[in-house]
């Protein structure tokens, strides 16, 4: 499989705090990767570096073989990177359908846009809520709406930052099914999560981050059996 995303010696410091401390992170096309680690490990910071919200202190980021280290965030999205934020980044004052239209209208027009809109509403199980203000949706629905928006830009790689945070177990399972379906269709997906049940449902390869560095990488079985990983997670499994 071809490498679609690669960081080399990536570092990000905030004063004396090294949030990302020399990360060589590589994702193959079509992969479904889970990124785990204790709080403060640098998982969200790594995502923000990849999408361009943070500028690196050192190192490079390449996407589809092109150096995107200095590229503005909106240009990275146009290249094919899309992200769902940890805190739902939706437009609360707009109806759910309008939220998706904002995401879709750059890549789609006319009948194609309407078709894709219906498909996303169906996929995210928001058809009946299409005219509801996004701010009035349940937390789980807001998470799904944002995933739908992230999909609406027609990405090549989808970064999901804690997509199941605050969800019920039923919603979490449903989200896992959505992620698996997307990956089965060829989408490259990287997921940050704390919920091990969710990770067990979807994970093929897992990367463990700790103190801003890659601590371990491997299959889920290898990771959960690793004593050092269990230790840094303080027994959370």
């Amino acid at each position: 499989m071809a490498t679609i995303l690669e960081t080399r010696e990536l570092k990000k410091s905030f004063g004396g705090l090294h949030a990302i401390d020399g990360v060589d992170f590589r994702v193959e096309a079509g992969e479904l990767r889970c990124l785990i680690g204790p709080n403060g490990a640098g998982k969200s910071s790594l995502f923000k570096l990849i999408v361009g919200t943070y500028e690196p202190s050192h190192g490079t980021i390449a996407f589809k073989g092109k150096d995107i280290t200095s590229l503005r965030p909106h240009l990275r999205v146009q290249d094919g990177i899309s992200m769902k934020f940890q805190v739902p980044g939706i437009f609360h004052e707009l109806p759910a359908e309008e939220n998706l239209r904002v995401a879709l209208q750059r890549a789609y027009r006319g009948d194609a846009l309407e078709a894709e809109l219906e498909r996303l509403l169906e996929f995210m199980d928001l058809h009946s809520q299409r005219n509801q203000l996004a701010g009035n949706l349940s937390h789980g629905q807001q998470q799904w709406l944002e995933i739908g928006m992230a999909l609406g830009v027609n990405p090549t790689i989808l970064l999901l930052d804690e997509p199941t945070a605050g969800m019920s177990s039923e919603e979490t399972f449903k989200t896992g099914e959505m992620v698996q379906k997307l990956n089965a269709g060829g989408m490259t997906i990287v997921v940050i999560e704390h919920d091990m049940t969710f990770i067990r449902q979807i994970a093929k390869k897992v990367t463990v981050l700790h103190f801003g560095k890659i601590f371990k990488e491997g299959t889920l079985d290898e990771i959960v059996r690793d004593e050092e990983v269990v230790r840094i997670y303080l027994g959370k499994a």
Binding site: H74, V77, M83, I90, F91, A103, Q105
Partner: protein, 349 residues
Amino acid sequence: MRRFLNLLNGPRTLGRGLQFWVGFCVVFVIAASMPTFTDSFAVTNLTFFLVWTFMALGLSVMWGYGGILSFGQTAFFGLAGYTYGVVSINLGDAHGLTWVALLVALLLPVLLALVLGYFMFYGGIRDVFVGIVTLSVTLVFETFMAQTAGPEWTIGDARLNGFNGMSGMPPLTINGGESNLIFDGPPLYWFVLALVLVCYLGLRLLVNSRFGRVLVAIRGNPDRVEMLGYNVRMYQLSAFAIGGGMAGLSGVLYTLWGAYITPSSMGLNAAALPIIWVAAGGRKDLTAVLVATVALTWVSQQLAIYGNQYALILMGFLLLCVVLGAPEGFVVSLVMFFKRKLALRKQLA
């Protein structure tokens, strides 16, 4: 045609459908026929009320739809007014040159908005700091123009005249063979009314378009919009330039209306008034802003008979009421109230 009607009746503007547009046409026809059954004093006043609507509509696009609170509208207003004065006094009113002056006067505020907006938005200035920067620009401009009283402050034949302001600029003129059409009185009124119609409809199309959708999204969450692949700074700059241009249009029409322009039109009080009109009407809707601006400029003028300070006190009180009681604006809140009543009645029937 269908696409045009869909945009005109889009979700981001109040007032849609046949009933609204019939009512709109009736109001427009009445407004257009006012010079035939009112005196010249009333026509002059009506022109005055309409002149301010452009600045308010531009601020609505910028602030209400785009989330950019700018105190710089009167800077663009004043720049346009002074530019018209300087250019028209120097070029004169022959050979249609007053229209050249008008075009130049509209171009300069847009250029200023583009330059100022570029440094602000591409420099990362956001939220309340946009208001601070634009207010500073307005006050600096006012202070500068107020000290141009000396004879050395002359551009060609046009003397800037400091705090007394510039006067004597020619009205818009269409030069005919034996007679000229001078835009004064009813011709100026109809010209301004036509511009109100064109700008109002044009802005309705704009805010209901794909551009308007993104602008409203930026108001809600600019970081998320950037992460959907949009160049947010370009959209903000565009909205700012539109607002600046509209304020400039008010400025040049005001100068044509009164044949003068003064630095006080850029002062702190003047800078705050558009904010109050737009907030009081309902900044997120063009129609509400249009109605409120005309109504409040009329009320201010009535109160000014008794003393300028009463109008300002009322405007301040109104802003307080809006912030505390009707943050969506009085006109919008009233419309939503009646809509809810109507919906409830239909449900019970």
